[in-house]
């Protein structure tokens, strides 16, 4: 199975690389945003794998975004290769602090406490407007790459590839994670906590480690989104943003790495068309799609793809055996 995924993966990777040649500029923009959000959604998907729903991941997303924002506004730092590591680090740090206490909770408490913490950040971002820009937000100037300012007409291209490379690195890292003991223990968490504890392993430590990793991913996604969109607002920490990430994880399918990516891309397109044809029904659109997924195809788009792929494979094997 790993072989086949690699082939499909290579094709997909290839498509991503040549995308700028075949898609229009606005699609490239969408893809860049999708790639950035994909990283945050991966973090959410990891928790879902462990049976936990985090309704507060916008917290880390906002931490990353405002790293870029503050770096730009207050420290005059515009260097991408500086802002990105700092964003990741801050995301991981915040998670390391929160995780000390969050790792003790499960179920609705885990969900709601995450939510509460992200809403505290939202409130802070809103209230302390003289630092954060309040509801006006902060404009993030196009960052430099190693001091080098990309030419105007190539900015979108450069940042697409920048984000793509990082997304590739993230994909690799998360795949290793999923194949590691921690990745398996995370899945076991949703299954049988008792067995984990009676094996001498610590459930709390498993959750904590996942929490820190997910914070780093969230921060990374936030910084990259800030670069691409160019303007950040407190809504980056609002719980509807967290809800969007959860929605994408559900839409794409959270049991795999490609799922969140497919979901993120699909989401950006859905949003574009929804804005065009039904601007007042965005939440309803999300809600209805979520219901459909939950009731009909809980594995999301990726499960649909796997189903189709399996059927094609069986047919191919049937033919070769004939």
């Amino acid at each position: 199975m790993t072989q086949r995924v690699s082939l499909a993966g290579l094709i997909a990777a290839g498509l991503f690389v040549i995308a700028p040649l075949i898609v229009p500029g606005w699609v490239l923009f969408l893809l860049t945003v999708a790639l950035a959000k994909f990283m945050v959604v991966l973090a959410v998907a990891l928790f879902l794998r462990g049976g936990l729903v985090t309704f507060g991941h916008a917290l880390f997303y906002a931490v990353g975004a405002y790293t870029a924002g503050f770096g730009s506004k207050w420290f005059g730092v515009h260097e991408a290769l500086l802002l990105v590591p700092v964003g990741v680090l801050l995301g991981a740090l915040v998670a390391a602090l929160m995780g000390l206490f969050m790792a003790r909770y499960r179920g609705v408490f885990f969900s709601m406490l995450n939510l509460a913490l992200s809403m505290i950040l939202y409130a802070i971002l809103l209230k302390f407007y003289w630092i954060t820009g309040g509801t006006d937000g902060i404009s993030v100037r196009t960052p430099t790459l190693l001091g080098f300012v990309p030419p105007r007409d190539a900015i979108r291209l450069v940042y697409y590839y920048f984000t793509l490379v990082l997304a590739g690195a993230v994909t690799y890292a998360v795949q290793r994670f999923l194949a590691s003991p921690l990745g398996f223990f995370l899945k076991a968490l949703a299954d049988n906590e008792i067995r984990i504890e009676y094996s001498g392993a610590s459930v709390q430590r498993v959750i904590y480690a996942t929490y820190v990793l997910s914070g780093a991913l969230g921060g990374l996604g936030g910084v990259l989104a800030a670069f691409t969109v160019g303007h950040i607002v407190p809504e980056y920490a609002f719980w509807l943003q967290s809800g969007e990430f959860v929605f994408i994880a559900l839409l794409g399918g959270y049991g795999s790495v490609p799922g969140p990516l497919i979901g993120a891309i699909a989401f950006e397109f859905i949003r574009t068309y929804a804005n065009k044809y039904a601007p007042y029904a965005w939440q309803m659109t999300l809600g209805m799609i979520m219901l459909l997924i939950i009731l009909l195809q809980p594995g999301g788009l990726w499960a649909m793809y796997e189903g189709v792929a399996a059927r094609l494979r069986r047919r191919a094997e049937g033919v070769s055996h004939a």
Binding site: L48, G51, L52, V53, F55, F101, R104, Y105, R106, G107, V108, F109, S111, M112, L113, L115, A116, L117, M119, I120, A123, I124, L126, K127, F128, A190, E193, E197, V203, Q204, W239, L240, G243, V246, L250, Y280, A281, W282, Q283, M284, L286, G287, M288, M290, L291, I294, L295, P298
Partner: protein, 298 residues
């Protein structure tokens, strides 16, 4: 001294509003063991429906006192429609599934309800102030309150009492408690658990709708209303203990008073205080002040 009185009065008013919002949520959690995120949506729907009917009645030239009846009617229509619909069409399909899925389902319904409100009534805020202004004003400590605010406090007390009586003193209440403590045994004894679930959920939805309709005259209902109240209601029941009616009252009081304090003494913290309290209480006593629910942690 005057400030203290104002803070206390404000606190109780907030508490009343929060209680009316949250008691249905804790009830549903108590029976179905599901955190109904869509609760805020039904609350908002009740507020909108009540406001709409009341305004319509005034347009038609009916007696102003009938607006109270209109509010009640709006709540009843909302609760009696939304409750069974949500429970039977959607919730029932995910009983027994992973908690995560149940949360996501109710979250999806919230999103739908919030936009449904927008689609039906548009985005302009609506306000029916008649029920409130009809009762006149009273000045306390230099701040003028309307009698309606105190009516709200009275309503919430009566309401809470009625619910406690329903759960403790009636046959239905006892059946509900039986289902809560052991679903399987209840089924074995012949209780129609499915129907109890539907009725309990509808009861919770009615509470939400009534709560929304009751406070509608004090605020202008506007889009996004549903989403705002969801976290507040969760904070209330988490603090008080999920599934506990007394807990909802206590949690509401706690947060109401804290919020009043914050508004008058540290205005910047007004938004944050509700979440901070929830965090602190959960850290110290995770099952809530009256909680008997086992908090899932090792």
């Amino acid at each position: 001294m005057a400030t203290l009185i104002i803070i206390i009065v404000d606190g109780f008013v907030f508490a009343a509003i929060l209680f009316l919002l949250s008691v249905g949520l804790t009830l549903i959690f108590g029976v179905l063991r599901i955190l109904n995120i869509a609760h805020g949506g039904v609350y908002a729907l009740g507020a909108y429906m009540g406001t709409f009917l009341a305004l319509k009645s005034l347009d038609l030239g009916w007696h102003p006192y009938l607006t109270y009846l209109m509010l009640l009617a709006g709540a009843l229509i909302t609760g009696l429609l939304a409750g069974p619909l949500i429970e039977r069409l959607f919730l029932r399909r995910v009983y027994g599934q992973a908690e995560a899925i149940q949360l996501l389902l109710t979250f999806a319904i919230l999103l739908i309800l919030d936009d449904l409100i927008k689609l039906i009534w548009g985005t302009t805020p609506m306000l029916v102030s008649k029920p409130s202004t009809l009762l006149g004003q009273v000045s306390i400590g230099g701040i003028s309150y309307t009698w309606y605010h105190f009516l709200l406090i009275a309503v919430s007390v009566v309401f809470g009492g009625a619910l406690v009586w329903l759960v403790r003193g009636t046959r239905f209440g006892k059946i509900m408690v039986a289902v809560i403590s052991d679903r399987e045994v209840s089924q074995a004894v012949g209780i129609n658990v499915n129907r109890i679930y539907t009725v309990s959920f509808t009861l919770g939805a009615l509470c939400a709708a009534l709560g929304g309709a009751a406070i509608a005259p004090t605020i202008a209902v506007a889009p996004g209303f549903a989403v705002e109240v969801v976290v507040q209601s969760f904070a209330v029941i988490a603090i008080g203990g999920m599934g506990s009616l007394e807990g909802a009252a206590l949690g509401a009081l706690f947060i109401g008073l804290a919020r009043a304090l914050a508004i008058h003494l540290w205005p910047e913290f007004e938004l944050v205080v509700i979440y901070l309290i929830m965090l602190i209480v959960l850290m110290v006593k995770p099952e809530g002040l009256f909680g008997a629910v086992e908090v899932r942690r090792i």
